[in-house]
């Protein structure tokens, strides 16, 4: 762990009964970069994210954010420390509007007490305005202006994914964990999402950890790629290095020797 990486994972393992989901995985997430985790289904990618964000407690190993050991912390504390995430199967309140979902995403940043919130005076009011401003920035950033007052249930799938990204951003994260943000999207929607991820990374300076199956996207936007297979890390490196890695080719394509794009 040094200044170059913002998030470190060391010898992390997790077993569910007799099944080993993640075994001895170590990785360093470069500060300000985009790191992608790839691997076949059941490789342990989502389990790894769940341990980083505190949803699962690892059996062994530790997770370090900016020099602080966060392995045993609660998910809400980890969120407050600056790790935001989106979920594979969209986690939004479908009855609430886009705006309310985003405001909820900012909840951990709100400090006003119950009493002052109830009378909506002084600090509570000031805070509300400041938070709304931050949310409006995200709305503008993700071009959601016309959807503010729409219940998320009424939105198309690709838009809900975008709102979910906004919900994660609302928390002002230092590190954003994205679990298949492009799953189930068509090519246009994928391109839009890739652009948003790049902009989040470059303009807002957020470090991104991405799980994604679309290899074209992964290879295009990642600074670093980690490959998991059956719970183990089998390769780490730049997109180019990983694509040429023998074990990666085997994991994806069986024993084919094709050296082209995976």
């Amino acid at each position: 762990m040094d200044d170059v990486s913002i998030l470190g994972v060391a010898t992390l393992s997790k077993k569910f009964g007799g099944v080993t989901a993640v075994q001895d995985v170590s990785l360093e997430v470069p500060r300000g970069g985009i790191l992608s985790i790839i691997g076949p289904n059941g490789a342990g990618k989502t389990s790894l994210l769940n341990m980083i964000s505190g949803f699962y407690k690892p059996d062994t190993g530790r997770v370090v954010l900016d020099g602080q050991n966060i392995t045993q912390k609660k998910p809400s504390d980890i969120a407050a420390l600056g790790i935001g995430r989106t979920f594979q199967n969209i986690a939004l309140f479908s009855g609430l509007t886009v705006l309310d979902n985003l405001m909820l995403g900012r909840h951990v940043r709100m400090k006003a007490g119950v009493l002052s919130s109830v009378i909506y005076w002084g600090m509570a009011q000031k805070e509300d305005i400041a938070h709304r401003e931050a949310i409006e920035e995200i709305i503008e950033f993700l071009k959601l202006q016309d959807l503010r007052k729409q219940p998320t249930a009424a939105l198309a799938y690709g838009l809900r994914k975008r709102v979910e990204l906004g919900r994660a951003l609302a928390n002002d994260p230092k590190v954003l964990l994205l679990d298949e943000p492009m799953g189930g999207m068509n090519q246009d929607e994928k391109e839009d999402m890739a652009r948003y991820i790049l902009d989040v990374n470059q303009e807002r300076g957020v470090t991104v950890v991405l799980i994604e199956h679309d290899m074209g996207v992964v290879m295009d936007i990642s600074d670093k790629v980690v490959v998991l297979d059956r719970g183990r890390c089998i390769a780490t490196g730049t997109p180019d290095e990983v694509q040429r890695h023998r074990k990666v080719v085997e994991a994806y394509l069986g024993t084919s020797k094709s050296g082209g794009r995976v």
Binding site: E136, E140, K143, D199, Q202
Partner: protein
């Protein structure tokens, strides 16, 4: 005395200075960002125009240079146009949805040296054309979003140009005032490229006199007051937007309000509740259609209430326009309706404060027109042309009528020549086409009459009536006159017909190509359990063909026998500006369509029952592909029993 007669107020930048001096705290412009309306006072307005102008000067922009803005309506893009004019430059706004080849033509023809682009999307477009634009020196972008990845030295941000301007201003303190003072009424303020239903676009040069004097005349007729609100949502490249958002706003000290983005216009309109609204017929028709769709989805009680009061309002409106007095019961009904239906509907549409609403550019169906009037919306018609600074005639409050376009605006003289063409003279007549003297000579007579190219006449009350484009008026083989637009407009009054193209010149009868309205026909089909996948699929359904047949029969009933459409077909795609079938302001390019669909026309008159059509489709990114299909041609059986018009 007109403003242009005084050397202190004879250009648009001088009016900015006047407004900033006389009403520094008044709202000059508003913009909705991050969900809130932000105001630029006249002092801010002037500050932005000054800083940006000085910044342009530091970039080497000077007298006679051209600046193009491209993007949705944003205050910065309006400021930039005025900044160019401060330096004696000319603004050349271009359509933000133009495809690359159209843009290259206009930007090269206009000799644009600076492009001010709204955002990354427009910057990408400008950068992709850079190599084809030898005169281009700078691309200025307003919204920095996503611009981190660009390092082309031709790019700079709006903010950085203003910054440079402030430094330049410190070094040259008198520069700005001197440059503004150099401007004169006769200088060209902008070049508005006409969409051109034929051939390449032409650049109409409009002087400061044109802009100011025309706005003055309009302000006079409509009693526009300082502080009146106006939503600037129509394309900036359209001369009408410049005439209102710059000309009228500066002359009357009215406030132009920029919506958040194109998708939020309807909601922003409602929030703002502007004092005046101008919209082309398409938008009024959309409003009505959306309202009908919403009504159909409402609970039975609400629906019945709406239908009852709507019928009452229309009955009373008809009675009133015939000059009959209303009964007490009717008046009582209207008062109740005001509370239950009319008021809320006006509010929903964002028209609760609108003292007047104008429709122009094309005729509006009488049903649509009557609907809005009966709901207490003061909808009137306006008639204009790019070459006449967007305004020639408009209706006064007491003279609203769906069939005419009203009287000429003050100080504008209109006459009809012996061929029936509308001609005019006045301060709104443009300076000529940029670099096209010959075309200018064909358009303006030596003694200053502008030929509009429209065929029309004055009715008994002295109101102007426009029939069609003069050059489109032809003859059927039996010698009777054939005015295609006249027929098409009757057809388009049907909510199910989005576009229609009529043929008949030198032919034995009239035939029409119809593009259905996906929204209304789609809803109609769903209600009847007719499954469809796409526009093409829907257009091929036999039931839809029958429906359109009935609609055409209804339109035919209002036309003389020889003008009635005898055969028709349903196009399997919409007419698109991207495919060059329409202009950017959505007027059919008749000649082009006739060539493209030559097969169809042959089949119409050859008596065949179908035609093979191969069309080239241009995708949004400029790629092209072709599509071949067989389209069925239908005959109109003589007058089927027509359902009563709703």
């Amino acid at each position: 005395m007109s403003l242009v007669d005084s050397p202190k107020t004879d250009t648009l930048p001088k009016l900015v200075a006047r407004n900033a001096a006389t009403d520094p705290g008044g709202a000059g412009m508003r913009e909705k960002t991050r969900g809130v309306w932000h105001t630029y006072t006249w002092a801010d307005y002037q500050g932005h125009v000054r800083d940006f102008a000085l910044g342009l000067a530091s970039l080497g922009f000077g007298r006679g240079d051209k600046l193009s803005v491209i993007g949705d309506n944003r205050p910065q893009l309006y400021f930039a146009q005025l900044s160019a004019q401060v330096l004696g430059g000319i603004s050349v706004p271009v359509y933000q949805d133009s495809i690359a080849s159209e843009l290259v033509y206009v930007l090269n023809h206009a000799e644009t040296s600076v492009i001010v682009a709204e955002d990354q999307e427009q910057v990408d477009k400008a950068l992709s054309l850079k190599d084809q634009l030898p005169r281009l020196r700078s691309i200025v972008f307003d919204d920095p979003r996503g611009m981190w990845a660009y390092d082309d030295p031709i790019l700079c941000s709006f903010e950085s140009v203003m910054e440079a301007g402030r430094a330049f201003g410190k070094a040259n303190p008198d520069f700005y005032a001197k440059e503004v003072a150099k401007g004169a009424a006769g200088d060209t303020a902008m070049i508005a490229y006409t969409s051109g239903t034929t051939g390449a676009p032409k650049g109409a040069m409009l002087s400061h006199r044109n802009m100011i004097a025309t706005a003055e005349a309009f302000v006079e007729v409509n009693e526009i007051k300082a502080g009146d609100d106006w939503l600037s949502y129509l394309p900036m490249a359209w001369v009408g937007d410049a005439a209102f958002s710059l000309g009228m706003a500066l002359v009357a000290k009215a406030t132009a309000n920029c919506p958040e983005n194109p998708e939020t216009v309807q909601r922003d309109l409602r929030e703002l509740g502007p004092d005046a609204v101008l919209a082309p017929p398409r938008i009024w028709e959309n409003m009505l259609t959306t309202m009908q769709v919403k009504t159909d989805d409402a609970s039975p009680l609400k629906r019945r209430t709406f239908e009852h009061f709507r019928a009452l309002a229309e009955r009373c409106e008809l009675k009133r326009s015939d000059g009959n007095a209303l009964s007490i019961v009717e008046r009582l009904g209207l008062a109740v309706g005001q509370i239950l239906v009319y008021g809320p509907v006006r509010d929903q549409l964002g028209l609760r404060n609108a003292r007047w609403c104008y429709t122009g550019g094309a005729p509006l169906g009488p049903d649509t027109y009557r609907f809005f009037r009966s709901f207490g919306i003061n909808l009137k018609q306006i008639y204009g042309a790019t070459e006449a600074t967007a305004m020639i005639a408009c209706q006064a409050d007491a003279e609203a009528n769906p069939n005419t376009v009203g009287r000429p605006i003050p100080r504008v003289e209109v006459k009809i020549d012996d061929r029936g063409e509308v001609m005019l003279k006045g301060p709104n007549v443009f300076k000529g086409y940029f670099k096209q003297e010959e075309v200018t000579r064909d358009t303006v007579t030596p003694d200053g009459w502008l030929k509009t190219g429209d065929a029309g006449f004055f009715d008994k009350q002295g109101h102007l009536v426009i029939i069609d484009r003069a050059k489109d008026v032809g003859k059927l083989t039996d010698g009777s006159a054939f005015a295609p637009q006249f027929i098409e407009n009757k057809l388009k009054f049907s909510p199910f017909i989005r576009e229609a193209v009529a043929f008949g010149d030198q032919r034995p009868f009239v035939a029409a190509m119809i593009a259905i309205d996906m929204q209304t026909v789609g809803t109609w089909a769903e209600k009847r359990g007719i499954a469809y996948t796409s526009f093409m699929d829907l257009s091929r359904k036999g039931e839809v063909a029958t429906l359109i047949g009935e609609e055409i029969a209804k339109a035919n009933a209002t036309l003389p026998d020889m003008q009635q459409a005898k055969r028709y077909l349903l196009l399997n795609k919409e007419l698109e500006a991207d495919d060059a079938e329409m202009t950017r302001t959505r007027k059919v390019r008749r000649k082009f369509v006739a060539e493209k669909y030559a097969n169809v026309i042959d089949a119409f008159y050859g008596g065949e029952n179908s035609a093979e059509v191969t069309v080239e489709i241009t995708f949004e990114d400029g790629r092209k592909s072709t599509m071949t299909s067989i389209i069925a041609i239908h005959d109109l059986v003589s007058a089927p029993p027509v359902r009563r018009a709703a």
